[in-house]
């Protein structure tokens, strides 16, 4: 039964890894879309460069925060899973 407890923790780490990988890729694409339009705006109107840059940075930070949420979940899964002790006891004690 200890093997099943190990399986649980292995699955936790795998889920953390894949979850973060998917989130980071989609976040990268999303930031690319925002960045692309911001650079086009600056190219079309160089005088608005200051405002466009500030707005772009704010938008990038908001999109990045979604990736950060996923990072926090992954960290919780790997390092601080709340039911880790209970599940280990459940599988190990049997």
């Amino acid at each position: 039964m200890e093997a099943k407890a190990l399986d649980f923790f292995i699955m936790c780490v795998v889920a953390a890894g894949f979850g973060l990988a998917v989130t980071a890729s989609v976040c990268g694409i999303a930031q690319t879309l925002g960045l692309r339009k911001a650079v086009e705006g600056i190219a079309r109107n160089p005088e608005s460069s200051g405002k466009v840059t500030v707005t772009m940075l704010i938008g990038l930070a908001m999109i990045e925060s979604l990736c950060i949420y996923s990072l926090v979940i992954s960290l919780i899964l790997i390092y601080a899973h709340p039911q880790a002790g209970a599940i280990a006891a459940l599988f190990g004690a049997k």
Binding site: A61, M62, S65, I68, Y69, L75
Partner: protein, 229 residues
């Protein structure tokens, strides 16, 4: 991830409060930030002159920059909010930045500090709403169409609670992630100065995250001040 070497924690160990210091480094370093800000602020404001000297000049630039930016977004009626948000902004910025000094731990890398800042903003948002609108503040949560209230009201409540979560987790995740990456790079290739590019990015991330927290706070405040749909 071993516990890093922190100067003020060592200081508290010498005093004899080692257990407290090891369990709560974010509290100790938030005290450090508070003392730093109070000392620098009071020294700069000691002899206010019409033509400002160095410290007063620096703080005038910072304060007028933040105030002009804030009034740009909230309008003139939001000028009285400036002390709260500017304090939150400068406090979070300093907390983020002292993490870059070797031997210091950024208080915002702990969820407790960021959640406290987010809760302050959340409570103040509702204080503004009740102060400006009284009991009619509930109309902000009800939406424009009266028969959709049973759907919209819980969604609005959850959205408001999600603001606390998002504000605290965004700041915590950025700072904690940065600390983790620094620790891992230091462990992997510390002798080759591998963490240095990450510390350069850390300055950028510190500024941007403090600014985003500040910007979202004033957007929430102006949303509470304006009339409902």
């Amino acid at each position: 991830m071993e516990h890093p070497y922190l100067f003020f924690v060592k200081l508290f160990e010498w005093i004899g409060l080692a257990h407290f210091a090891h369990a709560y480094p974010h509290v100790i370093y938030s005290w450090v930030v508070m003392i730093l800000l109070i000392v620098v602020g009071s020294v700069s404001a000691k002899r206010l002159s019409l033509v400002p000297a160095k410290g007063q000049n620096f703080f005038e630039i910072v304060v007028t920059g933040i105030e002009d930016f804030m009034v740009d977004i909230t309008g003139e009626e939001g000028r009285w909010l400036f002390p709260v948000v500017a304090t939150v902004f400068i406090y979070i910025l300093t907390c983020n930045l002292i993490g870059l000094v070797p031997g210091f731990f950024p208080p915002t890398a702990s969820l407790n500090t960021t959640a406290s800042c987010a809760l302050t903003v959340f409570v103040f948002t509702h204080y503004i709403g009740i102060k400006y609108h009284g009991a009619k503040y509930i109309k902000h949560f009800l939406g424009p169409i009266w028969w959709m209230i049973p759907i919209i009201f819980p969604i609005e409540i959850i959205a408001h609670l999600a603001r606390v979560l998002s504000l605290s987790f965004r700041l915590f995740g950025n700072m904690m992630g940065h600390e983790l990456v620094l620790a891992i790079l230091f462990f992997l290739a510390g002798a080759f100065l591998a963490p240095l590019p990450m510390m350069a990015m850390g300055i950028f991330v510190a500024l941007v995250q403090a600014f985003v927290f500040f910007l979202l706070s004033i957007i929430y405040f102006s949303g509470a001040m304006e009339h409902a749909h």
